[in-house]
């Protein structure tokens, strides 16, 4: 399974009509049209899901698992629904009802994702903020942003907080607790995550910063929404809700920063805005900034590509639910224990996040310069319309593809027409 360039975002060829919509929105210019169909360049894709969202023909989708298959493989199964799920149903639905509906899909137990967000908040606020660290600290929770930083902002890798994501932390705590409580072997316990996020699907199979994920399967929230909805009316044995009024707000942009109680923070959503602000951070322009919360999706994970409900509506619902929850209060014992889990490496990113210089033209600078010169020369002959008809998102990308030898057959139609017209005139 550990394919180096595994991606959850895929193309359903028969649906793609070659319209170029996705070429334009891809923040890493990872899509090309070849033979009239969109192709994703695996090396460049960060799984942000922008192309899934924009595609008018629904030709882009995400691969995820079928939970029924996974349930069969384990003695005991735990579902972790993303907190985003809480915003997908009408306001009158209680969290307990939703958790029961998820459990009734066939799981033995449900764990709330706030198990993770609370532990993370506790460790950052009580431990990491007091340590010496490159500032601003950058959140590690959005895998699309981590991959973006690897590719475009390698200098900012040391700023990333070396703590796992809420889902991973929840999965780890859940497995350890259940194993202790029921005397089960960890490997007999299966954790399935219900995801609003394509990047997460990828990062669970191909993790960044850790060896192996504790999550054994990921299902798309979109795919199981209907079943959960149908289960809502079913038997609802009392489910314990553990979330508090701030930990539940993690999937909403700014939720992490506010939970941490940091004063000088920036919370930015939407990948193009994140890029702009990271540029400023990289240039040392944001003096005194302590924490940067950057997420790829508009509004936060509530805007994830695998959600059903509009992100504004779901944001509002989660806020309403938050009002009925108790405020965050953590005991000394809980804080110490969380820090210990971090120090012991259980919830920590233990592998280095490596830079990935895919923008580079060549490993040899002399050759790079030569290639760059060629690109400059080719660009002189191109119209600069960035129309996408050639299959590349911009004229510059087209020129680059030629020089990299990746595009031997494509032609610039605009230029060809112009030449044709000129010939006719002469």
């Amino acid at each position: 399974m550990d394919n180096k360039y595994f991606h959850s975002v895929i193309l359903q060829e028969d649906r793609c009509i070659g319209c170029t919509s996705c070429l334009k929105v891809c923040p890493t210019e990872a899509i090309r049209l070849r033979d009239g169909k969109a192709r994703i360049i695996g090396e460049k894709c960060i799984d942000c899901g922008e192309c899934i969202r924009i595609c008018p023909n629904h030709a882009k989708s995400a691969i995820a698992d079928n939970y029924l298959d996974i349930i069969k493989k384990f003695k005991y199964t735990i579902a972790i629904p993303s907190l985003v799920l809480y915003g997908q149903f009408p306001s009158k639905t209680s969290i307990a009802q939703m958790l029961s509906a998820v459990k009734n899909l066939g799981f033995d137990e449900v764990y709330e994702a706030t198990t993770g967000s609370e532990a993370i908040t506790t460790v950052i606020a009580n431990h990491i903020l007091n340590k010496k660290h490159e500032k601003p600290l950058i959140n590690s929770s959005c895998p699309a942003i981590l991959r973006l930083i690897q590719i475009r902002f390698p200098d900012l890798l040391p700023n990333i907080i070396d703590i796992e994501t809420p889902i991973e932390v929840t999965a780890r705590i859940a497995k350890h607790e259940v194993s202790k409580r029921l005397g089960l072997d960890i490997k007999d316990i299966g954790v399935i995550f219900i995801s609003p996020c394509t990047a997460r699907v990828t990062s669970i199979r191909n993790p960044i910063g850790i060896e192996r994920s504790y999550v054994d399967g990921v299902v798309s929230m979109k795919a199981v929404f209907g079943e959960i909805l149908r289960n809502l009316g079913g038997s609802c044995k009392e489910q314990l809700v553990r979330s508090n009024s701030s930990s539940i707000l993690w999937p909403i942009i700014g939720g992490q920063s506010r939970a941490l109680g940091i004063e000088n923070y920036l919370a930015v959503d939407g990948i193009s805005e994140v890029i702009k602000v990271l540029e400023e951070i990289e240039m040392d322009k944001l003096d005194g900034l302590e924490f940067f919360e950057g997420v790829a999706c508009l509004g936060g994970c509530v805007g994830g590509p695998l959600t059903i409900e509009n992100s504004f509506i779901s944001r509002n619902r989660i806020r309403t639910l938050a009002k009925s929850l108790p405020p965050a209060e953590y005991s000394k014992e809980y804080i110490d224990n969380s820090i210990k889990m971090y120090e012991d490496g259980l919830i920590r990113l233990t592998c280095e996040i490596e830079p990935r210089s895919i923008m580079r033209l060549d490993n040899d600078i002399t050759k790079s310069i030569k290639k760059m010169e060629m690109i400059k020369e080719i660009l002189k002959y191109l119209p600069g319309l960035d129309c996408g008809v050639c299959g590349a998102p911009t004229c510059k990308a087209f020129a680059e593809d030629i020089v990299r030898g990746e595009n031997p057959r494509s032609v610039c139609l605009v230029k060809t027409m112009e030449n044709f017209r000129n010939k006719k005139r002469n």
């Binding site: 475009r152 200098d155 210089s357 600078i365 002399t366």
Partner: protein, 143 residues
């Protein structure tokens, strides 16, 4: 030897486009595969030079020259020039207006930072004619 040159125009008071030259230069260097710490140094120095043209001069150009051994940035403007270079080079010295300070510039750290970020740094200025700043970072063989 392989050699490349790019030129970017920088206009007086054009705060909307300000920073474009340094962003472009950053991207170019990254594509060339230059070490990211060096890219960052050049980008910061170029940004300072670019902003000085926008804020303090009547307009000019930023030029990037690259060969396998070094990266050179030249920021040239058409005036008015710096009357006292030694003074201008002092940390904290600035003639920026109140308005410019409100925008977050005018700490008087631009020129000292350019010097700090680069291996070779020179300012030439003729009052009434213009200023030319040249900055160079040397690339180790194999970079």
């Amino acid at each position: 030897m392989e050699f490349m040159k790019y030129t970017f125009d920088v206009e007086k008071d054009d705060f909307v486009r300000a920073g474009e030259a340094s962003s472009n230069i950053k991207r170019t260097l990254r594509e060339l595969g230059i070490d990211s710490a060096i890219v960052r140094r050049i980008a910061i120095a170029t940004y300072e030079a670019e902003m000085n043209i926008v804020i303090h001069s009547v307009g000019g150009q930023v030029e990037l020259e690259i060969d396998p051994n070094s990266i050179k940035v030249t920021a040239r403007d058409r005036g008015p020039g710096i009357p006292n270079i030694e003074l201008a080079m002092q940390e904290g010295y600035s003639t920026a207006s109140e308005k410019v300070r409100e925008m977050g510039f005018g700490a008087g750290m631009g020129l000292p930072n350019m010097k700090k970020c680069t291996d070779r740094f020179t300012v030439e200025s003729v009052y009434g004619e213009g200023t030319t700043i040249t900055m160079e970072i040397l690339l180790k063989a194999g970079d």
